[in-house]
């Protein structure tokens, strides 16, 4: 039964999700191209709508998709999440964050078609941009009301990989709250390097915001990274065994 469901998920739901991504992009592209002002904001909104669509397909393919969310902080924030699947990118939309600047690895910017969206939305290639430039771009984005999104593990290969402290350093420098997000189940549904979409229980959870003022000292950002990882991975472990 599980194999049958995996086949159905991969061929029918996966196919429908790809059609959704392609058709929505074809429809939206001329409007986004011709938009004279705030085009980057419109592209981010488009990414949000596309992502909500993917979350809908994930729900169909899952054994239940649950969202547990806290009230978001007022104003902009830095969002940090664990990362073990290509689906994680889309799950953030389930919390209603619709104006996000992603700080990502460079290879995403090299994907056909995707690079138009990545550049159009004003996302940042962390490998080609200096830390000072990232700080400046994020400061400008925060002034425009954006949230900043990081996957601090930087890779999907090891679900328990260290949280690098760059996101937390940025939060410290810009005095922004950090919202930790736990994504569980996507590593079973679509693990790194696989194409088959397995049915899995998915739970998405935001934790209460963390504030840089509570993590003082020269290594405050490192301590904040360690604390965020601990609460996310504790939840990840708990859910993994459900």
């Amino acid at each position: 039964m599980e194999r049958l469901r995996t086949c159905f998920n991969t061929i029918v739901i996966g196919g429908a999700a790809i059609i959704w991504l392609v058709v929505s992009a074809i429809i939206a592209a001329p409007f986004l191209w011709l938009k004279p002002t705030n085009r980057d904001r419109a592209v981010r909104k488009f990414v949000y709508i596309q992502s909500r669509g993917i979350v809908f397909f994930m729900r169909l393919a899952s054994k239940g998709l649950h969202v547990e969310k806290q009230d978001r902080p007022s104003g902009s924030c830095v969002i940090v999440a664990n990362h073990a699947s290509a689906l994680d990118l889309y799950t953030i939309s389930a919390f209603g964050f619709d104006n996000i600047i992603y700080i990502t690895k460079g290879w995403v910017f090299k994907l056909p078609f995707f690079h138009y969206v990545m550049n159009g939305a004003g996302y940042v290639d962390a490998e080609q941009t200096s830390p000072e430039e990232i700080l400046a771009v994020c400061k400008h984005a925060v002034e425009k009301g954006c949230d900043i999104m990081f996957f601090p593990q930087g890779s999907r290969k090891d679900p328990y990989a260290r949280f690098k402290s760059g996101a937390f350093y940025l939060a410290e420098q810009l005095n922004l709250p950090v919202v930790p997000v736990a994504i569980t189940g996507t590593q079973k549904m679509l693990p790194a390097g696989k194409l088959a979409i397995k049915p899995a229980r998915i739970v998405l959870k935001t934790f209460p915001a963390m504030y840089p003022k509570d993590y003082t000292g020269e290594l405050g950002h490192l301590r904040m990274a360690q604390a965020a990882k601990k609460q996310i991975m504790d939840f990840f472990d708990k859910e993994k065994n459900v």
């Binding site: 830390p131 260290r162 690098k164 402290s165 760059g166 350093y169 020269e218 290594l219 950002h221 490192l222």
Partner: protein
């Protein structure tokens, strides 16, 4: 005076605790950037962690960019510890 073995032991303990490295990663020839994947901010954090651990200042008057491998790091701390004790 602190021995080289003690420097290696304490450096590795600090790196394991703060950066979650495993013993097998911490070989003297490991490149900080390519093998241990420490980026520029990690390098700054590592320096602060080691300063606190050894009670020496690593940041002033030295070019940290010359430290490529873990062995270079051990050499650097050993040299500083010697200078500090003179």
């Amino acid at each position: 005076m602190i021995t080289r073995e003690e420097i290696i032991k304490q450096t590795n303990e600090a790196l394991k605790k703060e950066f979650e490295f495993k013993d097998e990663q911490l070989v003297p020839t490991a490149s900080l950037r390519d093998d241990l994947c420490l980026d520029s901010l990690d390098a700054v954090d590592m320096v602060i962690v080691l300063e606190q651990r050894f009670g020496v200042t690593l940041r002033q008057g030295y070019d940290l960019r010359t430290i490529i491998t873990l062995n270079d790091l051990y050499d650097f701390i050993e040299k500083l510890a010697r200078t500090h004790n003179k």
